[in-house]
Symmetry: C2
Subunit: 215 residues, 2 copies
DNA sequence: ACAAAAGTGTTAAACATACACCCATGT
DNA sequence: ACATGGGTGTATGTTTAACACTTTTGT
């Protein structure tokens, strides 16, 4: 049977279909650590373990919409940076049945977050041990994508409030990259993507920092 | 209903499921152009138009396996460079039904290709106009991914035979990047990733080029 | 000898890295 | 006055871009 004949004769009810889910990897920086949103599983399989929030993709719902829905359910947030990461299709990802999962990652400044679900918590990425399904692997992959993208995009700005100081922003860069940066050089590079306001930070017990916005 | 309850009560037969397909974007360089493998559609929808080769994902088949199968059907090839690109989930991608498609791209040296299907042809990427489904968009996205990856990986080597000359390799880089490169600088950078053999090219009407292998 | 493309050494500019220092605030 | 972190100018090293030139083959 050629592919054409296959497509021609294909009747969607004739074949067992995998289910399709979207899993969301929501990153934020809190307490000087990169953290990820996890939920505690109440039921089989992996009951009691932590897992990423996920939803099944509705028949009348795009993948992006499903990701937005998962985000909204857990955080009440709508308009934040998010992006498709990778699609996971191993056969026994889920012991119940064949599920193909499209993973998304999202970045949110810590101050925007108000968890709307009891069972949702933030967990430091570096301390993750065992998660349900292949979710630890997903997070590792997302972590790596971010580490790369920081260097040639402005995604780091997504983790900082609209108004921020350069030391704040530098800390974000350092956490995402996993290494310290030289203050003077960081500023020369990043200042170009930022606009200085006339406001200054207050309440510090040292010289106040100037407040910037993203250009 | 919480997500937990949803998952607990979820019965795969209760919900209409999208179908899942894999579409393959096979790139090669022929006649100094980046070309992509297309097939002419014989039947509805988009009968007569060109499209990417694709397969439905079997219930006992991983996504990578499905991509390999599509590759093998069209070219008889097995072990070549390929990688997942992106998953497309818009609602009306296919007029027949809801299909989510996981796209893969692959890179093959032109000399390895022996098309095993009558209706498969190579088509220059820069001359593509209308394709069936969202396949033109997929190719554009894959083209962009390659353009980026050329700069920080060695994927360009995947488009050249095991033994190659540096001018050959440079031409590949130039085609992938879409711009000319300076010979001397290209060599300083790439020579490090290559090993010189003691063989020389023959049959040219000018100075013969040394043959290299990938390190 | 000449054409044509292979192959190399050197210079100049751009960018990244590192250091040294000054500044503004609270105590 | 001092501790603390904010903020800046300059020098050094490394990478990238560009040019000028030599080499080897066929005709």
């Amino acid at each position: 049977m050629t592919e054409q004949e296959f497509l021609k004769n294909y009747d969607s009810s004739d074949f067992a279909k995998p289910s399709v889910a979207v899993d969301l990897i929501l990153f934020t920086v809190q307490e000087n650590q990169l953290q990820v949103l996890l939920t505690k599983r109440q039921s089989h399989p992996f009951a009691g373990m932590l897992s990423l929030p996920g939803v099944f993709v509705g028949i009348d719902e795009t993948l992006d919409q499903a990701a937005q829905r998962a985000l909204y359910q857990k955080t009440g947030l709508h308009d934040i940076y998010f992006e498709q990461l990778y699609t996971w299709g191993d056969l026994n990802r889920d012991p119940r049945m064949r599920i193909i999962s499209v993973s998304y990652y999202a970045l949110v400044p810590a101050d925007q977050i108000q968890l709307s679900s009891q069972d949702a918590i933030f967990y430091p990425v570096d301390k993750i041990q065992d998660l349900a399904f292949d979710h630890a692997e997903m997070i590792r992959y997302g972590r790596e994508r971010i580490r790369n993208k920081v260097n040639y995009t402005d995604i780091a700005f997504s983790l900082v409030p609209e108004e921020f100081t350069l030391p704040q922003l530098q800390k974000i860069y350092e956490i995402l990259l996993g290494q310290d940066l030289y203050k003077a050089n960081f500023r020369k590079k990043i200042a170009q993507q930022s606009i200085a306001t006339d406001k200054m930070q207050s309440g510090t017990k040292h010289r106040p920092s100037r407040i910037y916005r993203k250009k």
